[in-house]
């Protein structure tokens, strides 16, 4: 799938990467060239430079060789402090009210719940272009890592815990998202479709999902939880209240519960 779409987070992460890379090249390229030059110039067979076998210290050189890396790292450190806070995945993006989406990693597929729209999907997530997205992420199985590479950043999905990721798409298009953390035989194919669309198209998409007749409930979730590779896209027209929070909470119960058995008494 073409990853032509981009978003403010991906753009900022990329920009930071090239910025830091260029700064380091200023030192790294001369070091490599100097190494090769010195090795050639001072070669035993036919080299030209002076030979001073006992020369082993120089205050100026010592200060320089400690100084250059310290200055470099000093500059980078300020960038790290500033950018890490600016690009904190938990930080809500500015602009319109974000669309809330909850993602649950299963073996080996992704379940997406739209709590405000009361719908859920499997292996496909759609959202309006240029609207901030606020993901809450967890796992029912082993640790996963949620990522839509075109939009930037990733975050772990862990059972019994919730992590957050804020993203946004700047253009309309189709992207591939996936699990980045190895989690078993279906890992390679554990991808999902991420669609950024116009507001009108998004509303049509929501209506399409709603028009289906399957509901996300104990039985359908138990069925969905069975390990499967390359699971097809599926839609659920209704979702129980607080479904996501209950899935996170059920791991914290002392009883050894299996997915789909009982969610009672969690709250």
């Amino acid at each position: 799938m073409k990853q032509v779409v981009t978003g403010p987070i991906a753009e900022a992460e990329n920009a930071l990467m090239w910025q830091a890379f260029s700064l380091m090249l200023v030192v790294v390229v001369p070091v490599i060239l100097l190494t090769l030059f010195v090795a050639w110039r001072y070669r035993a067979a036919g080299g030209q430079g002076a030979y001073k076998p006992d020369w082993d210290r120089s205050r100026i050189i010592e200060i320089t060789v400690w100084g250059i890396p310290i200055v470099m790292i000093g500059i980078l450190a300020t960038w790290v402090w500033d950018r890490t806070h600016a690009l904190d995945p938990y930080k809500q993006l500015p602009g319109a009210e974000p669309l809330r989406i909850e993602a649950i990693a299963l073996d080996w597929k992704w379940l997406f719940i739209y709590p405000d729209l009361n719908i859920a999907t499997v292996n496909q997530v759609a959202f309006p272009v240029e609207q901030p997205l606020s993901f809450r992420i967890t796992s029912e199985v082993a640790m996963n890592s949620f990522m839509i590479p075109a939009l930037g950043g990733q975050i772990y999905a862990m059972a019994g815990m919730e992590t957050q990721l804020n993203l946004q798409a700047n253009e309309i298009g189709a992207m591939q998202g996936r699990n980045m953390q190895f989690s078993g035989d279906g890992f390679s194919d554990q991808t999902f479709e991420a669609l950024s669309m116009s507001q009108i198209d998004f509303e049509a998409w929501v209506n399409k999902v709603r028009s289906g007749d399957s509901a996300l409930d104990q039985a359908s979730f138990a069925e969905l939880s069975k390990p499967s590779i390359d699971a097809p896209i599926a839609y659920f027209s209704t979702v129980p209240q607080d479904f996501f929070s209950r899935r996170v909470a059920h791991f914290m119960g002392m009883e050894h519960e299996h997915a789909g058995h009982s969610d009672g008494g969690d709250k």
């Binding site: 990329n14 001072y42 070669r43 035993a44 080299g47 010592e62 790290v80 938990y90 772990y156 390679s188």
Partner: protein, 653 residues
């Protein structure tokens, strides 16, 4: 668990044999053939007694060092076979399953990492430490020779478990880091993860004892006048590495024991439910895992320091800077573990602080590169193979350092973590940084150990194959990572990735030629050992004490203990003409007698591990009892030393 566990055989049954895939079956056959071939060869040559008394029961640090390196080279080949199989799979697997089923591919990437870190790099490093450090500090042996043998045999036991997993049962599919909850019984039942746990647990005990042994050796067994600030750089790095070992390895032991308790006794340290929390595992694992990188790379830095000074025929530039840089790296290495999981959802303050701490390590590391550069400056550089590896390292390592700094910046890490960019980065540190260093050390000190030099031509060929092979194998992975390719992909659907993966496979083939060149180098050199003979004990115009004694050194190393008055003590004595040591001592020397305790405890460790993996509890407890009995038995053994008279010029063995 629903498995049948019998009293006699545990859960071991006929289905443990590798008939599930022809690739696994051939691997098992090759392993068996290698083992049997060795046994037949030794029998045919009638060398069992020589092997047993000369090597297996030896407590001589030089013999143990060589055995460690032999183990490392064997495991290098095994780990490399895994690597080239993965490269072939990924070069083929565009929209297809390639030639490996997912489960087998997962075993291969798990065993590749485990072998290369624990059973290639660690034994290689320990072997070099063993052989060289007592010679560099003017000592007759390590502080605890029998403990040293036990360390080796426990490492060998771990490696044995690792190898046998190819024949009996399967290896882990959970990667070399064994992250729970995936590595728990819920997701990966069976023996694979248990093999992983017990092989690194048992070898880890050996490594911890090595750390203790070398700290005491370096602090207590130095020749008179060998002040700390006169120690060769390799000894300094060995000291820092040993300190890191004893602080870091307990964390690995604890995290793997807890994982074993979860798996075997149904506990809940790292499970999803019942109050377990896998985040604790990741913290514990990387509190070991990050210092481990420096445990491996510091001695390699030491080797580069020795090599660059010797082959530039010049004093090491900025020795105090290098010492301080080494110790600073050692301390900082314990402050950065969280950078292995920036994507776990910690707050911006935590991520930023660990990111900055990580980048701070680049300062002393950068200083080292400059110091080596200025050692070459105004020198007279001889391009022997060890020096080629060193120059290659300097050029490639700064690239890896640069990608490391990028990964240390949390927002960049969010988009590159778990991709092949990360894989390219750590191979860029470990191949040029660690392995080039060890190979340089191997070629540099080989004449000391065996009395003849290694062939230059094949050494150079090996270097060039490794260098170009490395570039072709890993530069594409940087690009693929930026294109979003995750690590550990058995199959993929993006056609843009395939050309780069094919280039990476070609790189792996060149590295294969690099390994073949190493074998050829050894073969050719053994055949021409008379022409390559080192008669002086100082083939490279060396600077440190190990070059002041014959090659190979006598069992007792030094006829009389040298008196050190300067850094580069041997070089100074060559310039000033002042002899390092007086005439051979008249008194007899006491050297430690051979001991069977090492091999017995190694065998016991293997039984403990094998029993624990297969739930053969009697075997596990028999192994434990045997180890305890061997130690108690040894304590009744008073006649542990033998007299030798160096003055008689006894034959060196």
């Amino acid at each position: 668990m629903t498995e049948n566990v019998s009293l006699l055989f545990g859960r071991l049954g006929p289905d443990a044999l590798p008939f599930y895939s022809w690739v696994a079956f051939s691997g098992a056959l090759v392993t068996l053939a290698g083992g049997l071939g060795f046994l037949i060869l030794v029998t045919w040559l009638g060398q069992w007694r020589a092997l047993w008394t000369g090597w297996l029961t030896s407590v001589d640090h030089k013999r143990i060092g060589i055995m460690y390196i032999v183990l490392a080279l064997i495991m290098l080949v095994r780990g490399f076979v895994d690597a080239i199989m993965m490269r072939l799979q990924q070069a083929m697997a565009l929209n297809s399953d390639g030639y490996l089923p997912p489960e087998h591919f997962e075993q291969i990437f798990s065993s590749h990492g485990t072998i290369m870190i624990f059973f290639m790099a660690m034994p290689f490093m320990t072997g070099l430490l063993n052989y060289i450090i007592p010679l560099q500090i003017g000592s007759r042996d390590v502080a605890f020779p029998v403990l040293n043998a036990i360390s080796f045999w426990l490492t060998a036991a771990g490696a044995g478990l690792m190898l046998i997993s190819l024949v009996i049962g399967r290896f882990s599919t959970a990667g070399w880091t064994g992250y729970p909850p995936y590595s728990g019984v819920e997701f990966t039942p069976g023996v694979g993860v248990d093999y992983w746990i017990w092989s690194i647990l048992i070898s880890g005990v050996g490594t911890t004892m090595t750390g203790i042994n070398f700290i005491v050796t370096i602090l207590r067994k130095r020749a008179p006048g060998m002040l700390l600030m006169r120690m060769p750089m390799f000894t300094w790095t060995g000291l820092c590495s040993s300190v890191l070992i004893i602080f870091a390895f307990p964390a690995l032991t604890v995290s793997t024991v807890m994982l074993a308790l979860d798996r075997t006794l149904g506990m809940h340290f790292f499970t999803n439910d019942s109050g377990g929390n896998m985040m604790n595992y990741m913290n514990l694992f990387w509190i070991w895992g990050h210092p481990e990188v420096y445990i491996l790379v510091l001695p390699a830095f030491g080797i580069f320091s020795e090599v660059v000074a010797t082959f530039s025929s010049k004093r090491l530039f900025g020795y105090p800077s290098l010492v301080y840089a080494t110790t600073v790296i050692a301390i900082l290495s314990f402050t950065v573990w969280l950078h292995h999981f920036f994507t776990m959802g910690a707050g911006a303050n935590v991520n930023a602080i660990f990111g900055i701490a990580t980048m701070v390590i680049a300062v002393p590391t950068g200083v080292k590169v400059f110091d080596w550069l200025f050692t070459m400056f105004r020198g007279r550089i001889r391009f022997e193979p060890p020096m080629k590896f060193t120059i290659g390292f300097m050029c490639l390592f700064v690239i890896g350092g640069m990608s490391g700094v990028l990964l240390a910046i949390p927002p960049i890490n969010y988009s590159t973590h778990n991709t092949t960019f990360l894989v390219a980065h750590f191979h860029n540190m470990i191949i040029p940084g660690v392995l080039f260093g060890y190979l340089a050390g191997y070629m540099y000190w080989f004449p000391k150990a065996f009395g003849f030099q290694l062939d230059r031509k094949w050494g150079s060929r090996s270097f060039w194959f490794w260098l170009v092979g490395f570039l072709l194998a890993f530069m594409p992975l940087y690009a693929l990572g930026l294109m979003g390719m995750p690590r550990r992909m058995e199959t993929y659907g993006n056609p843009e990735w395939q050309p780069l993966l094919i280039v990476a496979f070609i790189g792996a083939c060149l590295i294969l030629l690099g390994i073949v060149s190493l074998v050829m180098q050894l073969w050719v050199s053994i055949k021409q050992r008379d022409a390559l003979k080192d008669t002086t004990g100082d083939p490279w115009d060396g600077r440190t004490l190990e070059w002041s004694i014959p090659s190979p050194p006598p069992v007792w190393n030094f006829d009389s203990v040298p008196v050190v008055t300067a850094r580069d003590a041997f070089h100074e004595s060559k310039i000033t003409g002042v002899v390092l040591s007086v005439a051979p001592e008249e008194e007899p020397l006491l050297i430690p007698r051979n001991s069977t305790v090492g091999p017995i405890i190694g065998a016991a460790g293997f039984c403990v591990g094998f029993g624990a993996v297969w739930f053969i509890w009697w075997l596990m407890f028999a192994g434990l009892a045997l180890a305890i009995a061997a130690i108690i038995g040894r304590s009744f053994f008073d006649d542990t030393e033998v007299e030798v008279f160096p003055g008689e010029g006894a034959e060196s063995i």
